[in-house]
Amino acid sequence: AQSVTQLDSQVPVFEEAPVELRCNYSSSVSVYLFWYVQYPNQGLQLLLKYLSGSTLVKGINGFEAEFNKSQTSFHLRKPSVHISDTAEYFCAVSWSAGGQFYFGTGTSLTVIP
């Protein structure tokens, strides 16, 4: 069965510190990978996505993610977080066999001043 796992439900981090939010998936077919951010009381906004090519993907707001096929991971990173990065982050996978998205359970990032 195919699945998406975000192991960390909550991640507190101090302002200007680096952060990594983890995402793993299980699949026997090719995948497309996405990270979305949801600010309080708002909809989801695309941060970045991996379709093919370079495994390091850069997105908006200084975020980047690396696709690792052997570890079936797509972890999100930022070298220095800001208070404004406090939000819920969702990893999503779309399998090549179909266009449907499957979302992880989300990681709540809290940046502490």
Partner: protein, 113 residues
């Protein structure tokens, strides 16, 4: 120039009532979706339409009925509302195909009393 809009933003109603949520997108996309986000932030797809045709219908009570009058609109009608229907409902749209980004509306916060 909102890309994906939903009305109403908030909806408070009594158990047993019938209510509708409307969604419109001006992105020219052919595919539209309804998602439900529960109190733990878990996102689950409910329906997907491609050019007015239903293509995904997850395990959702038949009290929920989507309707797509044209490819720019996808409305969600809910009959006999129950307490467990309280959630945030998100509409999204994308071009059809694999790896396409989904664009989300701001959400409709439904509270059933």
């Amino acid at each position: 120039d909102t890309a994906v809009s939903q009305t109403p933003k908030y909806l408070v109603t009594q158990m047993g009532n019938d209510k509708s949520i409307k969604c419109e997108q001006n992105l020219g996309h052919d595919t539209m979706y309804w998602y439900k986000q529960d109190s733990k932030k878990f996102l689950k797809i409910m329906f997907s339409y491609n050019n007015k045709e239903l293509i995904i219908n997850e395990t959702v009570p038949n009290r929920f009925s989507p309707k797509s009058p044209d490819k720019a609109h996808l409305n969600l009608h809910i009959n006999s509302l129950e307490l467990g229907d309280s959630a945030v409902y998100f509409c999204a749209s994308s071009q059809p195909g694999r790896g396409e980004t989904q664009y989300f509306g701001p959400g409709t916060r439904l509270l059933v009393l």
